[in-house]
């Protein structure tokens, strides 16, 4: 009787196969935190790139403005020097003419 019981209980409680795709679903659930981490890293990388690009753009614009201002200043200095040069030349000519007389 006990042997029959044993056999029947073992038969009723024999291992069954896990449902189809069980392992894949477990691995997918395990992989979710890693995917989320990858997404976070990607978002950080995008944010860092955008920040660097914005900072670089601002720096470039400031540099360009400084360069334009510098060129304008240089042009004005050269213009002043030209004006001063031509005035000196005119004075020199007047002085030379006075001497000749």
């Amino acid at each position: 009787m006990k042997d029959v019981e044993d056999i029947e209980l073992r038969r009723a409680l024999r291992r069954v196969d896990a449902p189809e795709g069980f392992a894949d679903r477990v691995l997918a659930r395990v992989g979710q935190p890693a995917i989320a981490k990858r997404h976070r890293l990607r978002n950080w990388a995008i944010a860092a790139t955008l920040t660097i690009a914005a900072a670089g753009g601002a720096w470039y614009r400031a540099e360009d403005q400084r360069r334009v201002q510098g060129e304008e200043a240089k042009r004005q200095v050269l213009l002043s020097l030209n004006i001063a040069g031509s005035k000196l030349k005119a004075i020199e000519m007047k002085v030379n003419r006075g001497r000749e007389r």
Binding site: E5, L13, V16, A18, F22, R25, V26
Partner: protein, 182 residues
């Protein structure tokens, strides 16, 4: 080589215990055991799958603390058993699935599928601790001492639960068979 690995039992065939435990391989190796314990306890495939998945997720988080294939097997049985009992505690009313619905009574024979299903139904009616002890005894072929270690309960308690559970099952089966014949 460890003595446990030399026994050649089903669960000792994993490679050297010092080798790093590969999670994917562990899932493939133990999915049937974990799912079956949960299924035989809960009698509901979808709930059993969810519980079994949770067990493997917990295994993934605790993988570093496990030292060998035997340790993994023991750990999985323990966690699955405790989760089953916790699940039963949370749900006061037993689940009713197609698998647990009583079949019409029929005379028994050693290979009677109706009796097998009826027996599963009767097992699902046992109290939670007795039920998990019966599942571990007859599905996993554990001794009462091993069951006591898995469940963290005294051996004497497990033995008396098994005896009482078998007595209950025997009486119910005899009643069912008797009804079927009358």
């Amino acid at each position: 080589m460890g003595t446990a690995l030399a026994t050649g039992t089903e669960f000792d065939t994993a490679a050297n215990p010092l080798e790093p435990l590969n999670f994917e391989a562990l899932v493939a190796r133990h999915q049937s055991m974990v799912f079956s314990i949960a299924y035989h306890f809960l009698q509901d495939r979808s709930v059993a799958e969810e519980l079994a998945q949770d067990v493997f997720l917990q295994l993934y988080r605790h993988l570093d603390g496990l030292e060998s294939a035997n340790h993994v097997t023991f750990w999985l049985r323990r966690v699955t058993a405790h989760r089953c009992i916790d699940h039963r505690r949370r749900r006061r009313f037993p689940l009713l699935s197609l698998d647990s619905v009583a079949e019409p009574a029929a005379p028994s024979s050693p290979a009677d599928p109706l009796l097998t299903r009826r027996l599963r139904g009767l097992i699902s009616e046992l109290p939670a601790h007795a039920r998990i002890a019966v599942v571990l005894r007859y599905q996993e072929d554990l001794t009462p001492e091993e069951i006591a270690r898995v469940l963290d309960r005294p051996v004497a308690t497990v033995k008396s639960q098994l005896q009482r559970a078998l007595k209950t099952l025997r009486e119910k089966v005899l009643r069912v068979v008797g009804d079927g014949r009358s």
